[in-house]
Subunit: 243 residues, 2 copies
DNA sequence: GCGGCTATAATGTGATCACATATTAAGACA
DNA sequence: TGTCTTAATATGTGATCACATTATAGCCGC
């Protein structure tokens, strides 16, 4: 099983025989953003991306429009495109939104969980541990996202997953920054508790485990870097978004 | 103050001097969907919309791509575009997601509320009542959305508002159907209780009022029509989404 | 040496065209 | 009269071009 492929959306682009260029571009950019390969504040250009990916401007434009709607990129009014910068307030909001949505999504998905899905969760959790062991940031991030999305996607056609993925795209680039700054060996996760709750089909325990995982596993590393970056972020002018 | 204009997004397209064609098209389609002027399942074409709005295909494509990312329209793989159809499961999910996000958004916005904002809330609430009185569906829906969004938008640059608006876009067309079926005079809202909680700066009371408003005010009319539509919706084949 | 101005380059936006493919309607055959 | 085949119509996708506007580097004057 391809690790990176699991990062890409499952509810779109999946059951389609012919894959359009725009889909390929979208998936590629999306993975780059989610895994933090593009830094916050980094400027992008349509022509530059078109040349880099070997396609015309058309698919780039549509992929960027889609990513902008997901708040993964920012279309500034002054004819410039960039990955949004993080602020302490936004980081706090993103965490609160993640907790609100992911605890509910986990709770509602629990009824659809079977043994095969639990096996996949264990597999992704091992990926996370392996990522910590060999200091592989991509593997850590990808495993973490895959673990959560696999759980929430147990429920077919969930309306939660797209919303949650939008939050991940917003937090991804910053998370990567934090990870290289802190080091993955200082991260913690509560996946074991979440797995226990899933096995026991215990809704309340699962909610608590997910919230604990989000708070303990990601927040404190973010908060630390947040203070470090606060001054730098403050000098960035408030962007004026466009359509 | 224009009533319809308040439906349009505030964080985008706002602080921009020159408005692009794509933004105008997006806002127009967005309002049409939010107020249910386009029925669920209704097919759309790029060329058809381009002719109707008097522009080329280009801005239509980008606006649709953006709306598709917000799940307001569905890009099927078979070269067809439509407004998504509602199912009982999806309706239930949408309500749960709204409660999770809107109670949290209201709670976090409360600290930014001032008297001027409360005055606007009262104004929008009057709009809702007036909509009920004269059986004006647009007014009822627009007032309702404006009331909620004004409250949540008290917090500057909220990450919640775009997510919530995506849910509104998904529920809007169906809500309109339900409204003409039931009649707006049989709707109930808990805006008075929410307003009391806002004035008292009582976070917990506000959360309870918002949840009650969503559950009582919109759900039961939806549930009733849901049963009515269940058979018809079931015969629609499961769509295969694209990018 | 430095700040304001100008010319050049770069960028997003919109329009138009070509093309592969899916849908639909017409027609042939049983 | 119903069903399968086939032709024609329609549709989304991608590429290319023109254009207004913005950013940037070069230059002049002080």
């Amino acid at each position: 099983m391809s690790r990176i492929a699991e990062i890409e959306p499952v509810d779109q682009d999946a059951a389609v025989d012919v894959v359009t260029v725009q889909q390929r571009v979208y998936s590629e950019l999306r993975t780059d953003i989610l895994l933090g390969r593009i830094a916050p504040g980094e400027p992008l250009t349509i022509r530059g991306l078109a040349e880099r990916l070997g396609v015309s401007a058309m698919p780039i434009r549509e992929a960027l429009r889609r990513l902008a709607a997901e708040r993964a990129v920012e279309l500034l009014g002054n004819r410039r495109i960039r990955i949004p910068v993080m602020s302490p307030e936004r980081f706090d909001d993103l965490l609160a939104a993640r907790i609100a949505l992911e605890t509910e999504a986990a709770s509602r998905a629990l009824g659809y969980v079977d043994d095969a899905l639990i096996a996949k969760l264990v597999e992704y959790n091992d990926e996370v541990d392996e990522g910590v062991r060999i200091r592989d940031y991509d593997r850590w991030l990808a495993g973490n996202f895959a673990f959560h999305r696999t759980l929430y996607s147990a429920q077919p056609d969930s309306v939660f997953v797209p919303l949650i993925e939008s939050l991940w795209l917003q937090i991804g680039p910053f998370l990567r920054q934090a990870l290289v700054y802190i080091g993955p060996e200082f991260t913690v996760d509560r996946h074991a508790e979440a797995l226990d709750a899933v096995r026991a089909r215990n809704r309340m325990a699962l909610r608590i485990a997910i919230e604990a995982d989000l708070r303990d596993g990601i927040t404190h590393i973010g908060n630390e870097l947040m203070r470090f970056n606060a001054a730098a972020a403050a000098k960035d002018s408030k962007p004026r978004r466009r359509g």
